[in-house]
Symmetry: C2
Subunit: 307 residues, 2 copies
């Protein structure tokens, strides 16, 4: 079907792979499924009891992707959606999600995406999620994602999440439970500006022997925006976890980083590093000698930092 210009524009921002109405996909717009498709290995079923979909990914899936973007363009709308992924043993899949809010009105527009990933053994799942806001209205653009990830034996889960810009308020909740030999990679990138507020809570339970987690969080706070990070890694078995949070603070912004590492087992090895500081002045000077203005140089450094 033909998409309107606003929806097409928002999709371009939130789907880094390029959204097309082919293979397995589901486009949600203003609280409704606008169009959807299945593939041989990936089946999408609308929930009967609440808004949202169940996504069944067979063990035969190899290198396939499924796209489930959400667009909210109606001012004053609150859209809550529950998406559950059932990923069979041995599947290899890329899941591209994301939400963009276009708000031209004076009322708050909000999307709460509650995602659960039930991952079998020996699977490889990459989940890409982008959040974005735009529009000339005074109404707030609010995104409160909840992400629950249950990873069984020897599976690999990669969570690649980006808050691009334009999101006035976000509270992110991420909960992960890891089985034996499983691996988790998290890359969180977040930018706030104006008087935006962002909170990100992460709770990583390393329950299985030889499980490992690497969490990298990078953020930039501009204007009078505030950011609070609370990543928590809990080692309940022989396991490794490495949490690294780096933030650039600008203008009148405020950033709090409150990581928590808990070792409940003698063979749990957990490391955390966090740094908050202003933009690197050597890099700034170097770029300015190339003829860039201060603003241009800052933009380049920030883009590179969040890449």
């Amino acid at each position: 079907m033909k998409l309107d210009q606003i929806t097409a524009g928002v999709l371009e921002a939130i789907d880094g792979q390029g959204f097309v109405q082919k293979g397995a996909y589901n486009l949600r717009q203003n609280g409704q499924a606008l169009c959807h498709g299945d593939s041989e290995n990936i089946r999408i079923v609308r929930k009967e009891d609440k808004p949202g979909i169940d996504i069944f990914i067979s063990g035969q899936t190899k290198g396939e992707s499924v796209h489930i973007p959400v667009v909210v363009s109606a001012s004053g709308m609150t859209d809550v959606v529950y998406n559950d992924f059932y990923i069979e043993d041995g599947a290899d899949v890329l899941i591209v999600a994301g939400c963009g809010i276009h708000n031209d009105g004076d009322q708050e527009s909000r999307h709460d995406g509650i995602h659960a990933f039930h991952v079998g053994s020996h699977a490889n799942v990459k989940y890409e999620e982008r959040h974005y806001g735009e529009g000339d209205g005074t109404g707030g653009r609010v995104l409160n994602p909840v992400t629950k990830i249950y990873v069984e034996e020897d599976s690999v889960f990669t969570l690649d999440t980006t808050q691009i810009k334009g999101v006035d308020s976000t509270v992110r909740e991420t909960h992960v439970e890891m089985g034996e030999g499983s691996k988790l990679y998290v890359l969180e990138k977040l930018m706030t500006h104006g008087n935006q507020q962002a909170v990100s809570n992460m709770d990583i339970q390393l329950n299985g022997q030889e499980s490992s987690a690497q969490i990298i969080s990078r953020s930039v706070a501009k204007g009078t925006s505030t950011q609070v990070f609370h990543p928590k890694a809990i080692g309940n078995a022989l396991c490794h976890a490495h949490v690294q949070c780096d933030s650039i603070i600008m203008d009148e912004a405020k950033i709090s980083s409150i990581p928590e590492i808990n070792a409940n087992h003698v063979d749990a090895q957990i490391i955390h590093e966090a740094a908050i500081g202003r933009i690197n002045s050597d890099q700034l000077i170097k770029l300015r000698t190339f003829g860039m203005t201060e603003e241009e140089a800052e933009a380049v450094i920030i883009e590179d930092f969040l890449k």
Copy 2:
């Protein structure tokens, strides 16, 4: 005056510099000042309104030390003491404190030392504190120190604190407010064994321009003991802070490290690093090839780690 054998033994453990009844000193035993002395530059005055002393350190003090150890040897005693230090501009002083509990009984013995340091400008203060418990009784040995440090312009404050062993329960509260150009060095060393519990909360407010703080915390948890660390560095101005927590976990112990770094100013630069892991096995193997037993090798590594 002549000290009894238990008091002399405890003093040897808690006063690393060697306690002598000379210069400025105050020995508190079982809730009473046992003996005390002033020096030309350091005056100790007993408080009238509550238990404890005021210690006045003149700006003329250069390289002098004051010793104020506390010994609790009566089982079932709760000793709460308020000590306030008034340190004049330009003073250079070493303050040696510490508390040892000898408990042969079946009742809990407890000491809460509430210390406040009012430090003028251009002063250099080193505060050494050792905590220690011993005795054959079943009664608990409890130490809950509260340390408040107010540092003015260009002063340097070093807090060197050690929980040696034998302390069944401790809740440590440390609060620091830092003026312009002031420097703080914290070295915290803590060992727990058996089913001991330790909590350490630290709150470092970097309020002055060019203030800086370096916090190093090292701990070893053995047996079924638990440790919780919550160091918090708050940058409210152009400042630097570096927080580093390293812990060795053994046996069935549990360790939580929950640092918090807050940047409330664009020129606040704050770094945190934390690591929890088991004893280095390469070091263990090397020491065992020298003929040490596993226990001996562990003891050497731990001693070195906490030095």
